[in-house]
């Protein structure tokens, strides 16, 4: 199957929705491609009451002429202007004049003994499972890691009837206080944070605290926490643990976009180093929903040839850059977080490669070749960022397919860029 568009937007989170809707309003033929079944990305998941901006943008998407290709995974970029994707076991070739990618971010998971036990999940991970129908009423939950997501998750789970045993934030109290003071420039965010804290007010917030081990026979039963020199155990049913976010850069790397300090380098109009390719949202810097919406609109306008209109939004984006910076400083990881991993602690969950085995290697590439670390189905999406933090290893080059694809999809992919799937 072959489809052609003026603008293809990869990722249907806030940035992608804003880019697609904005480009469609400029009378461009737009496709919005996403792996998930429903639009909204990770942050605007249905299954719970959505905030006003989410309702506004989702209804704009609904009313637009955007072709929403849900459940569609991009796995290759064989030539400029072409993407290969898979939908419902069918290979698809997407042709574009302009590409906006808004591939979002994932949580950073750090290994500690017992982190592979069932019911140890990401903070956003447990939240997503609950929005997907997992009941947590009456369950004892520890929320841990770092970043504003922890309070949002604790508030949501408490509203669903969970008993939040503890909220453990790795950052020290002084840094959180400084962050809160900086948020006076962004009153909306400050109020939101306070509302979340109020919703989970019966739970104690520990600063400079993190889990050092989890135990249970077939699933999580108890957790050992550390704060300074003090360690103690708590009984719990779920751990929601995420150490802030890392951008999804696989597509950016495949496209050949310049990456700077771990994020996609863009100009004022969200243009990447690659011609006709724009990037919006978390891959350019972790900045949250408001930032993503502004960047998405700029990218959507720029990709539609409306640079003039796009420039009017640049001051709005610049105003948010302070938030990105404050967030980065606040969530900076304590080096002590490297200590909980023991020699037998698995780092790569797909191939079950322990920390002790990895320690003998000198680079990510070396570790991959000798241990199969990062070579399972997730392709290092989970252990890659952990290994970067634990060992200081930089990422390796990305190769297609960037997502597991059927052999039939790979076979359908044309090797000659002038030859399309229909001719093949």
């Amino acid at each position: 199957m072959k489809k052609a568009f003026d603008v293809v937007v990869a990722g249907a989170g806030p940035a992608g929705i804003a880019a697609a809707v904005t480009a469609a309003a400029q009378h461009r033929r737009v496709a919005l491609v996403d792996d998930n079944q429903r639009p909204g990305g990770q942050i605007w998941r249905s299954g719970a009451s959505l905030p006003r901006p989410a309702r506004v943008w989702l209804s704009r998407l609904e009313a637009s002429a955007v072709e929403h290709l849900s459940g569609t995974r991009i796995f290759d970029h064989p030539a400029p202007g072409v993407l290969c994707a898979e939908w419902n076991e069918t290979a698809m070739e997407l042709h574009y004049e302009k590409l906006v990618f808004a591939t979002g971010a994932r949580e950073l998971f750090l290994p500690f003994p017992g982190w592979t036990l069932p019911n140890v999940m990401g903070a956003g991970g447990l939240d997503a499972m609950v929005r997907g129908g997992l009941p947590v009423a009456g369950k004892r939950v520890v929320v841990a890691g770092t970043g504003p997501l922890l309070l949002a998750v604790a508030a949501h789970l408490a509203a669903r009837g969970a008993k939040i045993v503890a909220i453990c934030e790795q950052a020290p109290f002084a840094r959180l206080a400084k962050f809160a003071a900086q948020m006076s420039r962004y009153p909306g965010k400050l109020l939101q944070g306070l509302a979340y804290r109020l919703a989970a007010r019966h739970s104690r917030l520990y600063c400079g605290c993190w889990p050092i081990s989890a135990s249970g026979s077939t699933a999580l039963e108890s957790l050992t926490l550390r704060q300074g020199n003090r360690t103690w155990s708590v009984a719990c049913d779920y751990l929601a643990c995420g150490f802030h976010l890392v951008p999804n850069l696989e597509l950016a790397e495949l496209l050949g976009c310049r990456i700077q300090d771990g994020f996609v380098a863009v100009d004022d109009l969200q243009q990447t180093s690659v011609a006709n390719v724009y990037c919006a949202g978390e891959p350019t810097g972790i900045g949250g929903v408001e930032m993503a919406l502004v960047e998405g609109q700029i990218a959507g306008l720029a990709a539609s040839g409306s640079a003039e209109a796009a420039r009017k939004l640049i001051p709005q984006r610049r105003r948010m850059l302070g938030f990105v910076d404050a967030l980065r400083r606040t969530c900076a990881l304590n080096p002590e977080l490297r200590r909980p991993a023991a020699d037998t602690t698995l780092v790569c969950r797909c191939e079950d490669v322990p920390f002790g085995t990895l320690r003998e290697h000198t680079s990510w590439r070396d570790a991959k070749l000798h241990t199969r670390c990062g070579m399972g189905p997730c392709q290092g999406r989970i252990c890659g960022a952990a290994a970067e933090f634990l060992f200081g290893w930089g990422p390796d080059a990305v190769r297609p397919p960037i997502f597991p694809a059927l052999v039939s999809s790979l076979a359908a992919e044309s090797t000659n860029p002038n030859k399309s799937m229909e001719d093949a």
Binding site: D35, N36, Q37, Q42, S46, G47, G71, R106, E107, F109, T116, P118, N119, V120, M121, G122, G124, G125, L126, D127, A128, M129, G132, G133, L134, P135, T218, A219, N248, R349, C350, E351, D352, G376, P377, C378, R381, I382
Partner: protein, 83 residues
Amino acid sequence: MPDPARSITLTVNGTMVRVQPGTTVAAAILIAGGYTRTSVSGEPRAPLCGMGICFECRASIGGKLHQRSCQILCTQGMDVRTP
């Protein structure tokens, strides 16, 4: 609020599970009291990321192997298998 009239029935390893529309297969597997896969060294595993990237939630759904159950919604009569 759960509405029994709108609930969906599916089977997880042959056991009937009743869920609300919009429930993911991963949630149904946990509701059924199981886990999703056995790791290469034999550990039980269950969903980690909830967003389709960690592959810990893969299960056999409707006879198709290695489906990411957190990305798939339950449908009436669905047959889900885990190790």
